[in-house]
Symmetry: C2
Subunit: 193 residues, 2 copies
Amino acid sequence: MRYHRTDIVQYAIGVLDQYGLADLSMRRIAAELGVQPSALYHHFVNKQALLAAVADEILARGGRSVEPDSAWDKQILSECRVLRNAMLAYRDGAELISTVRAFGLGVRVPHGELAETIRSAGFDDSFSRAAATTILHFVFGQVSYEQLSLQAHSDGAIDSSVDLPAGDAAYEFSLGLMLIVDGIRMRQPSYER
Amino acid sequence: MRYHRTDIVQYAIGVLDQYGLADLSMRRIAAELGVQPSALYHHFVNKQALLAAVADEILARGGRSVEPDSAWDKQILSECRVLRNAMLAYRDGAELISTVRAFGLGVRVPHGELAETIRSAGFDDSFSRAAATTILHFVFGQVSYEQLSLQAHSDGAIDSSVDLPAGDAAYEFSLGLMLIVDGIRMRQPSYER
DNA sequence: ACCTGAACACCGTTCAAGT
DNA sequence: ACCTGAACACCGTTCAAGT
């Protein structure tokens, strides 16, 4: 059997979802494909590049938010919800995306869309980009934590004395996002009371 | 030579600062101590526990914010600045703390203080905790990213086509924090215009 | 209480060679 | 173009045994 980059990414997503990020090794992916580990290096320069491709595919599968012509704040909430769902759809999805970003690799995270949406509310480029970054930091942190506590409840592997969020995750997500969006709105030139 | 937990943590911080988180291995710490790797397991059940201790020590060295009796929002900014400085003081400090948190281990992160400060502004427990969590997600994400781009500029190891923040990190930090704090303030029962 | 020495079951990556 | 086979230089962790 001969494979392409895309086949490998599909299998890798399967491994991720079944075994988790900690067990997403080159050797395991290779084994799953019925191939020698070294074969993967014909398709990806290294493991980081493979993980980046997996991260991009997970985000791509989540789709894009298309709120026709609703208000900028509704649009942001919608874009973030799509992003959150994309990550929640696979085991350790948020951790994977965070990890790839921590490598300094480019992941097709919707920073541009968010910044554009904010700019459409009348902000300049520099502010819009910074605000979009703020939103993304929150989203990745929140969803990673959310996914961690999901896992903590399913297996017993996590120290229960720490007790994680526990509160309604979807609520916490909306609340945090709303705080940031409100903070942005307050800075609109046209903002009154 | 015989060591205690605390000695090992000191050496581990040295290894972290010199070689980075990726090279902070049990074997390297042991080598630095002039001891067999297995010796470390007499002091820590596993690597995660050792990393958690290192994370706690780094945060402890950062100290605590003591803004006598200034306004709640100033207090929050101060607490976050202290936290940021603590992480920036060591190579990969923010990544380390994020990693330990991702394990589901308890790190002595100032969540309680932040929540208490917010509660002092007149919010209920549930909201205060959620808002504190929002702030921390932002802070860890932001400072990790900040530290990544510091590293990207010092070595050439990071894909320069991705080009990271580039903007003034301290400014971005303050801005993001301010957005969240403003969002919180807007929800104060006593808030007017 | 603290450590050694040896082993086990893994990693990511390289490289010559095959088809 | 895609893969094998073998090797290299690492990991974290366990465990019997030493002092």
